[in-house]
Subunit: 428 residues, 2 copies
Amino acid sequence: MEMVSRQPHQPDVGAYMSELGRRARIASRVMARMDTAAKDAALAAIANALENASQHLLAENRRDLDAGERNGLDAALLDRLALTDQRVRTMAEGLRQLMAHADPVGEITELKERPSGIQVGKMRVPLGVIGIIYESRPNVTADAAGLCLKSGNAAILRGGSEAICSNGAIATCIRMGLSAAGLPADAIQVVEITDRAVVGELVRMKEHIDVIVPRGGKGLIGRISQEALVPVIKHLDGVCHVYIDDRANVEKAMKIAFNAKTQRYGTCNTMETLLVARGMTEQVLPRLANMYREVGVELRGCPNTRALIPEIAVASDEDWSTEYLAPILAIRVIDTLDQAIEHIHAYGSGHTDAIVTEDLTRARRFLREVDSSSVMVNASTRFADGYEYGLGAEIGISTDKLHARGPVGLEGLTSQKFIVLGDGHIRE
Amino acid sequence: MEMVSRQPHQPDVGAYMSELGRRARIASRVMARMDTAAKDAALAAIANALENASQHLLAENRRDLDAGERNGLDAALLDRLALTDQRVRTMAEGLRQLMAHADPVGEITELKERPSGIQVGKMRVPLGVIGIIYESRPNVTADAAGLCLKSGNAAILRGGSEAICSNGAIATCIRMGLSAAGLPADAIQVVEITDRAVVGELVRMKEHIDVIVPRGGKGLIGRISQEALVPVIKHLDGVCHVYIDDRANVEKAMKIAFNAKTQRYGTCNTMETLLVARGMTEQVLPRLANMYREVGVELRGCPNTRALIPEIAVASDEDWSTEYLAPILAIRVIDTLDQAIEHIHAYGSGHTDAIVTEDLTRARRFLREVDSSSVMVNASTRFADGYEYGLGAEIGISTDKLHARGPVGLEGLTSQKFIVLGDGHIRE
C-alpha cells in the first residue's frame, strides 16, 4: 500500500490536497459498491487494530500532550486531547456498535409503475467523498471514519494540528483495518500536514469532495461557510426554548424546564430561554426560581418575570439571542401561543424548541409552525441527539434546512437517486 | 393591499430587495400553517384571474415583444417570450393540475417509540422562502408560483428583463388570487425592477431566503453558484449516455438508442454519447448509423466505431464531454461494463444514464454504481422528467447530490424536521 507520508518539510499544500482528493474519489467508487459484510468486516478490523495499538496510540498522544503543554494549551483543551486506555476502548466499541446498524445504502423505495409502463423509484446511495474538519478530540477521527465507511463513502479527515501525532497513529490503524478487509486504504485519509492552508484547499475542491462537515466552534464553522465552494452541512447556534403553555401540567412543566437547563450546561440542545404563559407564572416561576437557585443557575428576566422574582437581573435584548452554554437562563412571560412562536422565530436559532401543554390543538400548532430542526411536545430539549433519536452515532447536528436537518447519522451521509426500469420503453 | 410598485426611476436595489425579502419571510410563516384547501383555493383563484385577464396579459406581452424587436432579440427568443390565448390557458391549466396533487406538507413519517419512552418522527415542512431566477418565458412565473404555493412556501420570482411587462401583469393576477383565497399577497412577489444588481442581492439575502432555484443556461447558473451565499439547487450539464451491453436485446437497443437521441435534440435528458459493447457492434452500429443518417444526425466515433462506419468523423476527447443539444452523437466502442461505467464517470455530468441489457447482474451493478441523478435499465433517457416520474410539474432537474437530486417537484421544495412527543419525559 502506497501512502501519502507525513512530510518533515511542508510540501505544496494544493498539490498534496488534490492528490488526496483524487485518491479519495477513486476509492469512493469502490466503496459505493461494497456490500454490508465487507464494510462491517472493515469496522471490526479497525476496532481490533486500535485496541492492539493502544500503547502506540498513547505514546503518540503523549507527544501531542507534551507539545500542547509547551504551547500553553489550557487544561480543558488538554483533557479533550488526551487518550487513555479507556478512551481507546470506547473508540473501538463505537466502531463495533456501527456494525449493528442497518446499512442505508442500496435501499429502493417508492418504486411505482407509471402510465408509460416504466417503473420509477429511488435508490439510496453514498454521497461520495466527505471532508470532515474538526478540532482537538482525536476520537472524532475514528468516529467519523466509521460513519463514512458504513455509509459507503470515502472521507478526508482534517483534525486539529494539536492532535497531529494521535491522529496519524489512528489513521494507520484505519488503513490497516481497511486493507485487512479488502477495502481500499485510500477510502479514509487523514491529512497529515498542519499547514493552515489545508482547510482552504479542502473546502474548495469541488471536483473531489461532495460535502464538508465541520465539527467545532462558531468561528471555525463561520469561516468555512464563507470560504467553501463545496456544500457544507453545518451546525450553528443552539438557542433552544421551552414554552410553558397556560394549559400545561405543572409537574411536567417543572421537570422539563429544570432538566432542559441543568442536565448539562455546555451542550447545544440545552434550554437557554424559558417562555412562560402569563396564566402559569404564579404556579411555576417562584418554585422554579428556587430549584434553579439551589444548583447555581443565574436567572435574568423580563419585567413581568421580575415582578414575581424581583431579585433577578433584567434580561436585555441580547439575552434573548444568546447561547450561554453556561448556568444562566433568560425568562420571559408570554401572552399567547402566537407570541411564543414569534419570540422563537425572532430570537431562536432553529435548533430545538419545546412546548409543555395538555392542549392537543396548541401542541399540533406548535409542532407544525415552529421552524426548527427539532420541535417537541412535553419533552426536554436535551433529547435532541442522534443516540436518543435512534440514529446511532451522529456526525453532527444540522441547523440547515436543505438535505439533513437535526442530528445527522448514517442516512444523512447518503442521497437518493432515481432509478428507472423498463423493457425497451421509449418516450412517444 | 399595499404593494411594491414598479419604479420609473430605479430605487436603491439593496433596500428594495431586502424589503421584498422581509415581506416574504413574514408571509412564509403564514403559508407554512395554511391547510391544503386554502392553498388549492388560491391556485384556482389565480388560474381564474389569469384567464379573465387574458386580453390585458396579451397587451402587456405585446409591449415586451415590441421592445424585444426594437432591441433585436432573435426569433427563437421572441417565440419563447410570446403569450397567446392558448398559452395563457395552459398556464391556468397547470395551476389547476397542481390542485390534484397531494400536499406534501405535514406528513409525519417514521414515528417510533424510543427506549427512553419518547416518540421520535419526521414531519415534512416547507423550506420557507424560495428565490427563483429565470429567463424569458413568462409562463415560468405562473408555474413556479404554483409549485411554491402548493408546497407552502413564499417565493420571490425574478424573470428576465425582456419579459418585465408580462411578468408584472401575471404578478397582479397572482396577488389577486392569493388575496381572494385569504392568503397573504406577499407570499409570491415578482421583482418588478430590471436592474442587473437584483440577482446579486437575491442570492446573498441569507436572512430572508432559504434556497435559490435558477432556471436557465449554464452561464446564468455558473454565475449564480459563484456569487450565492444562499444554497442553490442547480442544474448543470446533461451529458447523458446509453450503454448497449453485449447481452442487450438488439431490437430494444435500437429503439432506445434512436429515441434517446432523436425524440428531441435540445433537452437536457437527450443522449449525447452512445457506448456500444464490442460484441454488439456489428449487429447494431451499421443499422443505427443508417437510422440516424435518415433523420440528419451527425455521427462522430472512436477508431473502433469508424472501422465499421468509416464515413463518420473522428470523435475528439472534447466530444465525450460535450452537451451538444443538437443532432450530433458521439459513439464509442467499449470492452467491458467496468469500462462503460468509468467512461460515464470520467466524461458524464451525473444527469441521466441508461444501460440496455438482459443480464440481471449487470443491470444491478449499473444501477448501483453509476453515480447519476437518474440511472435506467432498458429505457430511454428521455424519461428523466418530473411528469414522466409522476412528480407533477417540476421546478427543475437537480444535478446536485445534496437535498434534491433529479427532477424536483413539490417534495423537493420541502424539508423534514424531527418531532418529539413525550409526556413529561426528561433526559436522565
